[in-house]
């Protein structure tokens, strides 16, 4: 390297937000902040900023300039992108080729400030929150074939590749998914893509009885008819501080707005949908329920609304995300019913809960119920001026100890998103 080049490669840490546009620049910035032991907040476009603890770092590393599709191989079912690429850009090119990201990226924008804002793929991988199809196709982490990134010392590292079968070394693609930017600054991500199904319908089953609903979830999970999403939208609690959004959001010609309902989706070609619908009607004893069907034109927007948490659009309250073993669905629903605004996704496993109160006790009561029933809870969004005293994420002391060790192996000086997930990490 010539003296001139050396001079040019000097990274300035003057500005509050550093926006590198190449992987090399990311590496140089991290080397600098590593040597100065300067903690940094890693962001994409900031859509998931509210998740986790607030950071007090003086500087931000924004990946928004690290954007673009590197390589898309339709026949090989993968797309390689820079980490700051907007999800919409990826979805657009896939849509043009009749493919999709099977894990249905959630648009958290509605929950955060009432409007669409999907953010970047890097941010999405960092959270590992999969959408409605999760129980059928796996989570975000199951769709990451490989990545490149910069560790806490500034070394550029990679793992995985572009092929689905690869057991060469530790599977770090899994580890970095859901690590909230505390292990590496992602620079490149290779995602598995899937062919889009030809069509879809949604069956609406009306019932307020949780026992029956949980029984239907169980039958759907036990069926070989490949239902690709199933949700339960209960009547909202009467409390005046909960905004009543259900009937505004779920306004469809073939959806009766009276009462609670379960909805499930069947995808495939028309013949296959018809055949499976016929069988599911028998398996689920649908003749005993009032039911209706949303055709493809209603089904597609319906699931967008479920997936994107539109029920909580613009809420000022706390939003909790709980995952339970499916058999605990009934007990947990009964615990929540009428007291909280909530709905269930992932065929009885995933609960989105809105909690009004700014007191720890109420949230802790929910948390304890979940832990006693072998589930886990994330306090995804806190209401303004509320500082929940307990951890926002669920963890036990042994896993925390292991996590600290792993954190140390990637980011020994704890400069990436310090305290974002756990105060000690």
């Amino acid at each position: 390297m010539s003296t001139e080049e050396k001079k040019n490669s000097q990274i300035s840490l003057d500005s509050e937000t550093l926006s590198p546009s190449t992987e090399k620049e990311v590496s140089e910035i991290v080397r600098e902040i590593y040597s100065k032991q300067l903690p940094i907040e890693i962001t994409g476009t900031g859509t998931k900023k509210v998740f986790g603890y607030n950071l007090q770092t003086a500087k931000k590393l924004s990946l928004s300039q690290l954007s673009g599709i590197i390589d898309y191989q339709k026949e090989e079912l993968y797309i390689k992108v820079k980490a700051g690429t907007p999800i919409e850009d990826i979805e657009k090119i896939l849509e043009e080729n009749n493919q999709e990201l099977a894990f249905e990226p959630i648009d958290f924008g509605y929950m955060i400030n009432g409007q669409t804002n999907k953010g970047t793929i890097g941010g999405y991988v960092a959270c590992n929150f999969a959408g409605s199809r999760r129980f059928k196709v796996g989570s975000v982490r199951d769709h990451i074939l490989g990545f490149k990134g910069v560790n806490g010392k500034g070394d550029i590292i990679k793992s995985g590749g572009t092929v689905v079968k690869n057991v060469t070394g530790y599977d770090l693609s899994k580890l970095i998914s859901g690590s909230f930017g505390t292990l590496v600054v992602l620079t490149e991500i290779t995602l598995k893509v899937s062919p889009k199904k030809q069509s879809q319908i949604t069956v609406i089953v009306y019932s307020d009885e949780i026992k029956k609903i949980s029984n239907l979830f169980d039958k759907i999970l036990s069926s070989s008819n490949e239902v690709s999403a199933a949700t339960f939208i209960p009547e909202e609690p009467t409390h005046k501080n909960y905004e009543h959004t259900k009937n505004k959001i779920f306004k469809f010609n073939d959806l009766d707005q009276e009462g609670s309902f379960l909805a499930f989706r069947i995808e495939g070609d028309k013949r296959s949908i018809d055949e499976r619908l016929k069988e599911l009607k028998i398996e689920l004893d649908l003749s005993n329920f009032k039911s209706s069907i949303l055709d493809v034109h209603q089904s597609v927007p319906f699931w967008k609304k479920v997936n994107n948490l539109e029920l909580f659009s613009g809420t000022k309250n706390n939003i909790l995300r709980a995952v339970m073993p499916p058999a605990k669905c009934e007990a947990f629903s009964k615990f929540l019913n009428k007291n909280y605004k909530y709905y269930i996704d992932w065929c009885g496993s995933l609960f989105w809960i809105e909690v009004l109160d700014k007191d720890d006790e109420k949230i802790n009561k929910i948390k304890n119920f979940i832990l006693e029933n072998s589930g886990y809870l994330t306090i995804l969004k806190k209401s303004e001026n509320f500082d929940f005293q307990d951890t926002l994420f669920t963890i036990d002391s042994t896993r925390l100890m292991i996590s600290k060790k792993i954190k140390g192996s990637f980011d020994p000086k704890k400069i990436f998103n310090p305290g974002r997930m756990y105060r000690e990490l």
Partner: protein, 498 residues
């Protein structure tokens, strides 16, 4: 066989053998600690039978507490530990060391809970892969990953290797099908990761541990997801006049939006070999033969099978059979499943490789392998999990001829290097073990490998758990990377390998 570099032998440990053995007997029943030569000999090798080494002693604990106490003791006393499941692995991941305790999990052989409500099974790690399916099939369920050794391989070993199988194209590998594990760390710490819920919070330790080849912890319990059996399964047996036609057909099927349950391919050499061996009745005029299996509802499968046969015709297929019942479907598979023993019958020895490539490069790599075959003057037969680009070339040779052995090793390494060059991976499903260890630098640079070693160090500070595996010792990127079978003396000659 070429000399294998192994971690330096700790003579102090070796000299303290009798003391260590008596100490181990404090943690478990006396009969669970084996130290006599004839007792420990069965543990000297795994599915990669070319390498043999008896351990210092073998311990077969009966519960998690015993595993924890043994590991804690070994950690404090600086004694190396090699975990072992059923010992069917093909990359030497359970090869003992002279100064190490071999920790066998054979006594962890019970299914602990069948939970149909939560669609999962909680099992001890020594239960076989197929044992899980057998326990739930009466209610129409099964465990999806199906490595060819599923009759014998243990679920704990599957977790360690992230095992795949013929159906991983549609259903994923082990990592996509487990919900939780209980694991003991080298310092004796017992931890539960995951459980009966989908995903877990915090770092995905389950994802890290799955495929870590026994380097990060010893698995003492596994919770696996079970699925409902598909209603209908049918297969097509399709022949092509050229390798290109077959390769193009694979790509066209995938890009048409079909995701078959399995898509297998065999080349001419293997068609001939298996046909002689198993009388599968495969077409004689095909250069490559493909088996495409589809599952789902009846009309869906019928529809997709028609679509597949149309795509095959567009790609100049010269023979096609569609299965109309289970008997016919299984007959299609009979030759494919006999691939390994068929090669064993053709030459004194064969090496099985395990690389991955992008699907679109199938015909290209097949041509390269055939050119290499001419260059080295060694016969090769090819079996592919074509749907996910995983290839198993079988190189035939005579191991008693030193020059042939050397050439075979070079040939194998060139194939794996070609896989990496074409954007693939060194190993698709057999693991790195000791076998492809020195080839790791083909796929990773020093920083990549250092990061992985740092993880290892953070969880096993003294590098005592399964040392000498996965990561290069020589860092010279040598020419290793194959399964060596001599005169049918495979450790498990009766297990189908495909």
């Amino acid at each position: 066989m070429t000399e294998l570099a192994l971690p330096q032998i700790d003579r102090t440990t070796v000299s303290k053998k009798s003391l260590i053995v008596s100490q181990l007997k404090k943690f478990t029943n006396d009969e669970n600690v084996l130290s006599e030569n004839e007792e420990i000999k069965p543990y000297e090798t795994d599915g990669l039978a070319a390498y043999k080494q008896t351990p210092l002693a073998v311990v077969l604990p009966e519960n998690t507490k015993e595993v924890s106490e043994i590991l804690k003791f070994c950690n404090e006393e600086n004694i190396k530990v090699i975990p072992r499941g059923a010992g069917t692995g093909l990359s030497g991941g359970a090869l003992p060391l002279q100064d190490a305790i071999l920790l066998g999990l054979g006594k962890f052989n019970k299914i602990l809970e069948i939970d149909f409500e939560n669609k999962c099974v909680v099992t001890q790690p020594g239960v076989t892969n197929l044992g899980i399916t057998h326990a739930v099939q009466h209610k129409g369920y099964y465990y999806a990953p199906d490595p060819s050794s599923q009759l014998a391989c243990s679920i704990g070993g599957n977790v360690a290797e992230n095992s795949g199988g013929v159906h991983s194209l549609k259903y994923g590998t082990t990592t996509n099908n487990i919900l939780g594990v209980e694991m003991v760390m080298m310092d004796g710490t017992i931890t539960k990761i995951g459980g009966k819920t989908l995903d877990q919070e915090g770092y995905d330790l389950l994802g890290l541990v799955c495929g870590s080849e026994g380097l990060l912890g010893v698995i003492t319990e596994v919770t696996v997801k079970i699925l409902r059996k598909p209603q209908s399964v049918r297969a097509a047996l399709i022949g092509f006049p050229t390798v290109e036609d077959g390769g193009n057909c694979v790509s066209d099927i995938i890009s048409s939006g079909i995701v078959p349950a399995g898509m297998e391919m065999m080349d001419k050499a293997l068609i001939d070999a298996t046909d002689k061996f198993s009388k599968a009745g495969y077409p004689k005029d095909a250069e490559v033969l493909m088996i495409v299996e589809l599952d789902g509802t009846k009309s869906e499968v019928d529809g997709l099978l028609n679509k597949v046969s149309e795509i095959a015709k567009q790609n100049n297929s010269n023979s096609m059979k569609l299965s109309n019942n289970e008997k016919e479907r299984l007959a299609f598979w009979s030759g494919r499943k006999a691939a390994f023993p068929a090669c064993g019958a053709m030459a004194p020895d064969y090496y099985c490789m395990d690389g991955s490539i992008p699907r679109g490069k199938l015909s290209l790599i097949l041509k390269e392998i055939n050119q290499l075959s001419k260059k080295y003057n060694l016969a090769v037969a090819n079996a592919f999990h074509a749907g996910d680009g995983n290839l198993h070339p079988l190189i035939m040779f005579d191991g008693s001829d030193k020059e042939q052995l050397r050439k075979t090793e070079e040939f194998g390494a060139e194939i794996l290097k070609a896989c990496v060059k074409h954007g693939g991976a060194l190993t698709g499903e057999h693991g790195v073990g000791i076998e492809k260890r020195e080839l790791m630098c083909e796929a990773f640079n020093n920083d990549d490998i250092q990061q992985q070693l740092n993880i290892k160090k953070s969880l096993d500070e003294k590098n005592l758990l399964n040392p000498g595996k996965v990561y290069p010792i020589l860092r010279k990127c040598a020419e290793e990377g194959r399964v060596h079978v001599h005169r049918g003396e495979e450790k498990f000659p009766d297990l189908p390998r495909f």
